[in-house]
Assembly symmetry: C2
Homo-oligomer: 638 residues x 2
């Protein structure tokens, strides 16, 4: 099949698909409390912010120019992301109060939709030119994408169709306006999002025009001449890039090259991730190997040159994104929470395109570290950017002017169950290890999996397989890339299986009461960065299992940079149930430069006294939840 | 004497004063070529820039609103700094062509002076309010200060009085406008400079009103309520701080407290240095111990918490100045060339207020490192900011929009002789060691000193003392703070003398043919920074004598951060006459992280191969004079 065409009779199921999140019940100590807080605290907190900021008032206004509370840039998205978070929770447990509020908002969104389907809370222009002015920076199609995602989630959770119908009318309109035909706008959005959302809308409705439109947006991106450079004339003095003091470069929104020719992860990190998600989606839906090949190259580039050890990306606030290969500053890191969510979304799609544990490893790394750090342990405060070192002035806040990160991390957590297992026609794949119960439908049968484990703090995982009746299927279990030695046993019998692309398989007829035990060695590891990473030269990061550690001054006293760790110092791991919701901390003997001998000298050719000290490291995900202070991931080696 | 009052009959000569630069002839390998280039290349280069930018055309215009080539912010200063540089050279050797050009510019400057003395190339307002609008940011009195400095320098060099008279008329006018009297503006300039310039004007003319006016400006600064906060109403949307995205803070221009209450070096670095220069001047001229005391405290704060090892200051471009104690980032360092010049100016004044080798040490450190680095070895390109590490994107340029640094470093070099010796009624002090001849007038006699030395590459200094007739005086020789062992001999006889505040003294009757030999141990030193300096943790700077070293990729290959130096590795010093005009380079065995074993991995829990390598360091002052690339001062220790 050639790139960009859509088969008119798509009959093949994909080989693997995710088990829906509502089929999973978490019972673990890491995620379950976060999911509970997500519903009980974060969702209401987001709602309160929308109320506090007048969003609910504004949506009622059917706003016209000159009225008070003029809806701003991205207000629609604030609503629709909140609806999506709510929907993921409603899929698990319905809630009339929340639904009533969503229904009210949906009603007003519907009122603001034009007869031809166009929908914008801000302005109601009638001419095509005015409506789609400034595609580069206006986020109009981006907002449409989030509306589609919300519509699909709300429909799947409740069966209610109102928002889905609004979304489809809008998608139909966009499908008429955009394209390569005469009178159509041959362009695409400056912030990717609508592409992956159209695939979701297609999957929910079966309407292939949405898939074709997603394919058009992805294929058209980066074709010469550059659409945004053509469009530039419409930008005035208030131009986004001028305000930021940045030169406009097409790399910023990945429109510098046709997507299949892109080999480097460039520009705004969230935009890149959302584009790559759509590329992976289309690769699966269209069987388009050329898109998968492009994804593989981009993935390799990212992971070999531009990825932070916490599973994040974005080396500067200036473009909220990428700079140069190996440029991974720690204190200046951007690592936007949304980009890490996007990294999870992308790798989750890739592992369904081709099952490879490296994708799952990266997904897990991002989840347990950058994403989890994005939200406080009490579910009320958020990091927009996630630094890997700070002198003490970086802390979570309750909200942001551009409020993408709180609902993004909230929707990922609310739907986290979806990332644990996948299934095929006769197989079940376990990607993540977490104490949970999963109810799967396999070959028309209910199969229940009970995971018992203290993962991520312990590497032993017991999975009780409970088919309704004896059932033959392949159970695939991931052996994480960080694990150097794993043992697999079924009903007490050790099986010698080498992982194939990160997964070991057990192909058998399963009976109720069968138990699989996977033992993953989980020692403390010292991670070092490639010598070209200037920021990490002579430094080491501590990792155990999927958890990346950091030092905080609350445990180690001030001036974390004065600490250094010998490369042969033993590092002990201790589970501390009273700390940070229950975490494994690391302890080691280390050295500290001794300030006492310095008196008032700033420089010295003689003093270099060091004292022995104890170093304590906590999971990066849990930092900034106690007394505010310094934090450091990459510790100096001595 | 109380602060701020001026004795009406000042009869005392200060105990020490500088020997004028024109009395010194350099013959050394470090400064003499720089001084020659300064006259032959830098002075014409500055002149060419003024021509290229239409400055000479503009000065002729007697500009009125609406005309082309509207003189901009700081144009007057571009001229007057150029005149000052030219004057320092003319003091050594007259030059009719240069003088003709200066005289022409002076003529036009005179034409633009108003009958009442007011002088501004830009605007000719008549009301006091308009003339002195926006003292915080307009640089009007700053420009007046540079005019006064130029006028004094040109008068001293040539005896020509035209510019001096223009300056005096303007100073007289300012003296009428500013002060605490009725109808006067009780304010001062946002950029200090006029204060030190008025002291110079006083010294050149004997007019005590100028000294009193300088004293008023210094004393009034920082009195409550803050003048600039009172003035703020006059700032519009184009406000400097708004444009920079900085909050206005009175610390920025050292107006947060009365100067005698200031204990921390804060704000814009150049402004701070120029203020402190005036404080030191007034301390000497008025015998004002309270100002000297304030200077001592500020000096101690700077040198114990905020000074870069290269003798520079300023930790961020945002305020072109100071941040927090111990915040000395290397790649983000500002270390403006002008601030290092100002540090030299200030310490030169302090050592005349109280002879203490620590001031001279700092002056020397700034000169040989930050200041000397400010200009290329061919005299044509300049650093505005001087970083202590770069990945390769920091290089000198020919000019700057705000062109303070090129003439500032040029005027310091052109007058460098002034910093070598001081004299009192019966003493001669040698501050700097450099092969040179100095002609002094001491007690009515001509005394010649011939220094023979290869300093800063070698620590042996021979000084031939040649009085016209036998003469009794004290010869004081500085023993630098970096030197741990020094030997002094007179006519071959070793004298056991402990330095007193950094100087050893020989009190005797000097005869023609007497020779003093000072031997300063000059091993390679490893400098370490206080443990609170996060940027330098686990790092070492190499220094030998007054010279701070750095690594460049042109000598060491790419990725300087991958190099590390063992704390016991011998470091050899070699003079290389063919390199960078002839410098001592340092060589050591070091380790380099081995990239070859990394393949495409970005992170690894196993790889940490290191290879032995040779490290070569060159003087910081000479970096970026060969193939452009990386540079690093603080090398990692292993």
């Amino acid at each position: 099949m050639t790139a960009g065409t859509v088969s008119s009779s798509r009959s093949q199921r994909p080989p693997l698909w995710p088990v829906p999140h509502a089929a999973i019940t978490f019972r673990d100590g890491f995620w379950a409390p976060r999911l509970k807080l997500n519903r009980e605290r974060t969702l209401p907190a987001i709602q309160e912010q929308l109320e506090r900021l007048g969003r609910f008032d504004a949506v009622n206004l059917e706003w016209r120019p000159g009225q008070q509370l003029e809806p701003e840039f991205l207000w629609t998205t604030d609503f629709t992301e909140w609806i999506e978070v709510a929907s993921f929770h409603l899929a698990v447990q319905r809630d009339p109060a929340i639904e009533a509020l969503v229904d009210k908002v949906v009603h007003y969104i519907g009122l603001s939709q034009q007869p031809d389907g166009y929908l914008d809370q801000r302005v109601h222009p009638t001419s095509v030119e005015e409506r789609w002015l400034d595609l580069r920076d206006s986020h109009r199609l981006y907002a449409a994408g989030h509306l589609f995602e919300a519509a699909v989630a709300y429909f799947r959770a409740t069966g209610k169709r109102d928002l889905l119908e609004i979304a489809c009318r809008y998608a139909d309109h966009i499908d008429q306006v955009f394209g390569r035909g005469e009178g159509q706008i041959c362009g695409y959005d400056g912030h990717e999002e609508i592409e992956l959302a159209l695939v979701k809308l297609y999957r929910a409705t079966g309407e292939e025009r949405y898939l074709r439109l997603a394919s058009y947006f992805v294929d058209e991106r980066g074709q010469a001449p550059n659409f945004f450079e053509q469009e530039l004339g419409s930008h005035g003095a208030d131009d986004y890039f001028q305000r930021q003091g940045l030169p406009w470069r097409a790399e910023y929104n990945q429109s510098h090259l046709p997507v299949r020719e892109q080999t480097e992860v460039v520009g705004h990190a969230v935009r890149a991730m959302y584009l790559y998600c759509a590329m992976a989606d289309l690769a699966v839906e269209l069987g388009d190997e050329s898109l998968l090949h492009a994804c593989r190259r981009l993935w390799k580039h990212l992971t070999s040159t531009r990825l932070y050890v916490i599973g994040g990306l974005g080396s500067t606030y200036r473009n909220e994104g990428m700079t140069e290969d190996y440029d991974l500053p720690n204190e200046a890191a951007y690592c936007e929470t949304c980009a890490a969510c996007g990294l999870v979304f992308w790798n989750h799609r890739l592992l369904h395109a081709e099952l490879d544990g490296r994708y799952t490893d990266l997904m897990e790394r991002a989840m347990y570290n950058n994403v989890a750090a994005g939200i406080s342990l009490d579910g009320s405060r958020f990091f927009y950017d996630n630094k890997l070192a700070t002198a003490g002035d970086h802390h979570r806040t309750e909200w942001f002017k551009v409020a993408c990160c709180p609902p993004n991390v909230a929707r990922l957590l609310a739907s986290l169950g979806e990332y644990v297992h996948s299934q095929g026609d006769a197989e079940v794949v376990v990607h993540l290890y977490v104490r949970c119960d999963a109810r799967l439908d396999l070959a028309g049968q209910r199969v229940t999996l009970h995971q018992e484990t203290d993962y991520p703090w312990d590497g032993t995982i017991r999975i009780a397989v409970e088919p309704e009746q004896n059932l033959h299927f392949v159970l695939r279990l991931r052996v994480p890339g960080w694990c150097r030695h794993a043992t697999l046993a079924v009903n007490g019998e050790v099986l010698q299986r080498a992982p194939d692309r990160g997964y070991v398989s057990v192909d058998r007829t399963w009976r109720a009461g069968d138990e699989v035990v996977l033992d993953l060695d989980m020692p403390v590891e010292r991670v070092r960065a490639h010598p070209k990473v200037r920021a990490d030269a002579g430094r080491v990061a501590l990792q155990r299992g999927p958890i990346v550690y950091c030092l905080e001054s609350v445990d180690n006293g001030p001036n974390l940079e004065s600490l250094s760790l010998a490369d042969d110092a033993p590092v002990d791991a201790t589970f501390r149930h009273e700390l940070l919701g229950g975490v494994v901390t690391l302890q080691a003997r280390a050295e500290r430069a001794d300030e006492s001998s310095w008196d008032r000298a700033l420089y010295s050719t003689t003093v270099q006294d060091r004292a022995e000290t104890e170093l304590t490291a906590v999971p990066y995900a849990t930092w900034d939840n106690r007394e505010p202070g310094e934090m450091l991931v990459w510790v100096r080696e001595c």
